[in-house]
């Protein structure tokens, strides 16, 4: 258990700037999720914390100590990779005990700790198998086990669930969360899946092209996004954006409204009109997609029971002004007024 601090951390590969200065303070035992689209620099940030990439500028501290110059092994961290990175020529038990063996831990103690971890992860029947004789979910658990056994101060996860099927992903997501709570280890978790981020995080960091756009508790970020990017990235279906000039704003400004805050009214009524292009009934809810006169597409989320208009029909849209989120031409949130 330890705190983790990133201070003005920057990274460039040669001339290419990838991380433009990130600040984070992670408390002991906190679960932090870094979420963002592909290529925004999530993995790079995580790998800098792990010591697999050098830090171009800024400082990383684990438990208060500067670790910029330390080798990965000296940082007291464990990492779970996207492709698991298990040692293919070793058994499950050997995989989990490898770090301890290198640290010259006495054999009986290695055995006990591997046994403990295996029990926790329900891997006991597989200890003698090789990784290739395991299913994806089991491999994932072994990778977790390898991290747990060493009792590190910080867990790092780089999209650990993205190779699993949807059902297993949900199950493993819960297991990871429970495990982290049980062990109380500080965790930094990278994903591009916003649902994973929302469900796992104590606080999440939304990354956009090398910048941390917003850091906060998932529901706060959802309810009160700082930038148009965050508003569009977090939430499914995404926030609708309308040109603010039509509603008393200046040119370039945008109005963001979440699909659940829009409601359909009779044609000619409401604040704006559109034509229904498709309807997706999902059971508990129904998504109605409309195209406005200016060509913008918007999505309305209705209760599953509510009556939905047919495709091709005209409809009016209305919303409460309190639900509006205004963003300036650079995509930053405009408050007040």
């Amino acid at each position: 258990m330890a705190t983790l601090t990133l201070e003005h951390v920057k990274k460039s590969f040669g001339e290419t700037k990838v991380i433009h200065g990130v600040d984070i303070d992670v408390a002991e035992g906190e679960f932090i999720v870094i979420v963002g689209p592909s290529g925004c620099g999530k993995s790079t940030l995580l790998r800098m914390v792990a010591g697999l990439e050098g830090v171009s500028e800024g400082e990383i501290r684990i438990g208060g100590d500067r670790v910029n110059e330390k080798e990965p092994m000296a940082r007291d961290i464990a990492m779970v990779f996207q492709n698991y990175a298990l040692y293919p020529h070793m058994s499950v038990a050997e995989n989990m005990g490898y770090g301890l063996k290198i640290a010259k831990t006495p054999k009986p103690e290695i055995a006990t700790r591997v046994q403990e971890a295996a029990k926790l992860l329900q891997l006991e029947p597989y200890l003698k198998r090789r990784p290739r004789e395991l299913s994806g979910g089991q491999r994932q658990r072994v990778a977790m086990g390898r991290a747990i056994v060493r009792r590190p101060a910080v867990f790092l996860f780089d999209e650990p669930l993205s190779n699993l099927d949807a059902k297993l992903r949900v199950q493993m997501r819960l297991e990871i969360k429970q495990l982290q709570r049980k062990l109380g280890v500080t965790a930094l978790y990278v994903t591009h899946d916003q649902v994973e981020a929302m469900t796992l995080a104590d606080r999440m960091i939304v990354m956009n092209a090398g910048v941390a756009d917003q850091i906060g508790a998932p529901l706060d970020v959802y309810a009160d996004p700082e930038t148009a990017f965050v508003a569009g990235f977090i939430g499914s279906p995404p926030t609708n954006f309308l040109p603010a000039s039509r509603f008393g704003g200046t040119e370039g400004e945008q109005l963001g409204i979440r699909p659940e805050h829009l409601s359909l009214v009779a044609p000619g009524e409401g604040r704006i009109a559109g034509r229904v292009i498709s309807v997706e009934p999902l059971g508990a809810e129904t998504l109605v997609h409309l195209r406005l006169e200016d060509g913008t597409d918007v999505t309305v989320r209705q209760e599953g029971g509510a009556e939905a208009p047919g495709e091709g029909m005209e409809a009016g849209l209305s919303w409460e002004s309190a639900a509006e989120m205004r963003f300036d031409a650079e995509g930053r949130r405009m408050r007040g007024t």
Binding site: A50, G51, L52, E71, P72, M73, I77, A78, M79, F81, Q82, N83, A85, L86, Y87, P88, H89, Y98, G99, I102, A103, R130, R146, R150
Partner: protein, 293 residues
């Protein structure tokens, strides 16, 4: 999933493998059969008639101290050639694998020796180590070392080993490099995070994962050392001094073509064939079982 093409009938498949079968038959089965046949006879000095002696040639060979010495020479020679060429190749491949810039140039340069024919390579090395005009001999002389592989059997062995191994490094290097590059980076990184330094990683992760490549190269290199080094030995030492570099395949040539003892030469070929066959089977049986993971 494995994808298979199924041919109907017998003739098309036969036709397709016919060229390969023909080449194998003409250049391997026919001469091998002839060697086995000839090994059972002793021809008269003029080659006009042959006398059947059964296993006489073999009995004579196995009790011949020169032949037994040649066995030992071959064992030493092929062990050294294999170790030197594979060791250096692995070392260079590890270096090249860590390179990010300029690895293409490095690789290309390292492949060049492979394009040099063994006999030509032999001549090159012979010139460099020539006892009177050799460059390296001269430098060694400056250092106070008197190099003379024409008289000194150990030095002669050293020279043919270097010359044979040199031509082989490129080939081994390419395979080792490909093997190294097929090890996922994240596995190495996981080991680094687990606390393994460069050497520990090499010993416990990289080398075991490379073992299929190593095994393959071991077989290929031993076969090479047994047979294809003929050109190098012939140009540099011609088996001398005092037979100190006469490996089995060279003795086949020396006794058969130079000494005209065709029966014995044929018997030697048969023994050589059996030895290499046995070695390969042994390797597959005992080493290969350990290399798969």
């Amino acid at each position: 999933m494995e994808k298979r093409v199924i041919f109907k009938g017998v003739w098309l498949p036969l036709l397709l493998i016919a060229p390969q079968m023909l080449i194998t038959a003409v250049f391997f089965f026919y001469p091998a059969g002839q060697a086995v046949w000839q090994s059972l006879f002793i021809p008269d000095p003029f080659g006009l008639s042959m006398q059947y002696v059964g296993l006489g040639n073999f009995e004579y060979l196995l009790s011949d101290p020169y032949y037994r010495a040649s066995f030992l020479t071959t064992a030493i020679f092929s062990t050294l050639v294999t170790l030197v060429s594979m060791g250096l190749a692995l070392y260079l491949a590890v270096l090249a694998d860590r390179l990010i810039k300029g690895s293409g140039t490095y690789r290309t340069l390292l492949i060049w020796p492979y394009a040099v024919a063994p006999a030509v390579a032999g001549v090159l090395w012979m010139f460099m180590f020539n006892t009177r005009v050799g460059v390296i001999t001269w430098y060694l002389g400056q250092l106070g070392y008197d190099w003379n592989h024409v008289l000194n059997g150990t030095e002669a062995m050293g020279l043919v080993v270097i010359a044979s191994a040199w031509g082989r490094i490129s080939y081994n290097f390419l395979f080792f490099l490909a093997g190294l590059q097929s090890i996922p980076r994240s596995v190495i990184e996981a080991a680094a995070i687990d606390g393994a330094g460069f050497w520990t990683r090499f010993r416990t992760i990289v080398f075991p994962l490379l073992s299929p490549t190593t095994f393959f190269l071991l077989v290929v290199n031993i076969v090479y050392a047994f047979f294809e080094t003929f050109g190098v030995i012939h140009t540099i030492t011609a088996g001398g001094p005092q037979q100190s570099t006469t490996i089995l395949v060279y003795k086949v040539y020396a006794d058969g073509f130079v000494g005209q003892d065709l029966g014995s030469s044929a018997a030697q070929s048969v023994i050589l064939l059996l030895v290499v066959g046995a070695l390969t089977v042994l390797q597959f049986k005992y080493v290969e079982r350990k290399v798969h993971y």
